[in-house]
Amino acid sequence: AQSVTQLDSHVSVSEGTPVLLRCNYSSSYSPSLFWYVQHPNKGLQLLLKYTSAATLVKGINGFEAEFKKSETSFHLTKPSAHMSDAAEYFCVVSPIAGKSTFGDGTTLTVKP
């Protein structure tokens, strides 16, 4: 069984300040973890993925995430938010085969 908990439904930051979107997972096997972003009225775009290689993963648009097995976490960070980062972010856990499970999503608002 697997599950994902995104700890914040909404996060609001000022432009130029750091972003932290939190994700905890539960899995009965070594999971692969992903972050996807969804801009308004758009599809889902992959930001980054962890698949049992380096625990610190770099993605597109300056985003990073660190896999911490002891904390069962995969938090998404960015040092400096940009207005274009405003979107919905989904943490996803996937097995080797079978369905991927989405977190409930975190809405990121970036204030000027």
Partner: protein
């Protein structure tokens, strides 16, 4: 860059009508999925498809739903008799089947279904 394409982008239908949503996955991918997202809610798994058969389905995926890969290219989701609560964005996704590795899901842009 290869991409998943979905048609139509938006469909409006009357309750009780049949709807077919179409998807063209990335050509060398082996796993295919449908997810849906009701407005303002989370993305929910509907069904996965591998080797020409359903490999897993959720409790949402009842007898009103069916999937098909009719020609080795398209991957369709059919809703036989639509209900108001079927109104949602439906996302098709595919991924490759590299042994021992979990590939990312590649999503289409979605098909918005509105049931009146």
């Amino acid at each position: 860059e290869p991409e998943v394409t979905q048609t139509p982008s938006h469909q409006v239908t009357q309750m009780g009508q049949e709807v077919i949503l179409r998807c063209v996955p990335i050509s060398n991918h082996l796993y295919f999925y449908w997810y849906r997202q009701i407005l303002g809610q989370k993305v929910e798994f509907l069904v996965s498809f591998y080797n020409n058969e359903i490999s897993e389905k959720s409790e949402i995926f009842d007898d009103q739903f069916s999937v098909e890969r009719p020609d080795g290219s398209n991957f369709t989701l059919k809703i036989r008799s639509t209900k108001l609560e079927d109104s949602a964005m439906y996302f098709c996704a595919s991924r490759d089947g590299l042994a021992g590795e979990v590939g990312e899901l590649f999503f289409g842009e979605g098909s918005r279904l509105t049931v009146l």
